[in-house]
Subunit: 124 residues, 2 copies
DNA sequence: AAAAGTGGTAACATTAAAGTAACTAATGAG
DNA sequence: CTCATTAGTTACTTTAATGTTACCACTTTT
């Protein structure tokens, strides 16, 4: 969870950011929102995240009660992650973020900074 | 804007995170969603952000076309920020985040990691 | 016998983000 | 004449976040 000071106590936005403010957390959560996913599958769906960071973020999300980790005692191991009930309450946020990302790619004319960034080779 | 690799080209979540993925950006945007705000007022509304970081984040948001900066040529200076039309399309995200932050404070019983974190002195 | 598949972890390195303190210009107030 | 006000910037430092590489255990497949 990201660190904030006392401001958190009374600002809902700061509180929310404390839970999903990481670079990867909303992206991970959005994948889990579609359905249970294994660790290895997440590394494929999110190719730019390292396994170390993925593992670390999943652990934080679990500690924060947003996801549940199911470990099956098999060899080779199998571990599945799913949104907890509370994690599911994040769906409106995740859906809104996903929708925005989809719309912004198409609805903007060239000349606007957003469209220019998307069309150029600049990392987005 | 946060840096992501090629994954961004086809993942809406990654794209969205590129624009609002910073620690402070959603918090700043949520303030602007309520109405135009001066620089100094933002530093009061968001006490934990430094002026340097605030200034820097505002500049990025402006470059990304999400907010508009109005500078009145007065002494002492007056500068107001407002959401651009595109910035306003972020409102569903901002509202969802704000709602979640409000609800999560009240709707969780003790014993749950979220409620424990909120009630303890741990930074949230 | 060696390689592949899985879900990690440990040590280490790097980059990104954030913070601090001091400073600016121009005016009005006291 | 000095202080307060505003919206910053600059230089420097520190902390947080993320990344890289190599490795483990155990079983099945080749």
């Amino acid at each position: 969870m990201r660190k904030f000071e006392t401001h958190a106590a009374y600002c809902p936005m700061v509180r929310t950011m404390g839970y999903i403010g990481g670079k990867w957390k909303p992206i991970i959560l959005a994948r889990l929102a579609v359905g249970n996913v294994r660790f290895g599958r997440l590394t494929i769906q999110i190719p730019d995240i390292s396994r170390k960071i993925l593992s670390q973020q999943l652990k934080e999300l679990e500690e924060d009660g947003l996801i549940i980790r199911h470990s099956y005692n098999e060899k080779p191991p199998r571990v599945e992650y799913e949104l907890s009930d509370i994690g599911k309450t994040l769906m409106p946020i995740l859906n809104a973020m996903n929708d925005w990302g989809e719309q912004i790619a198409g609805n903007i004319g060239s000349g606007h900074p957003i469209s220019d960034k998307l069309s150029g080779k600049q990392v987005v």
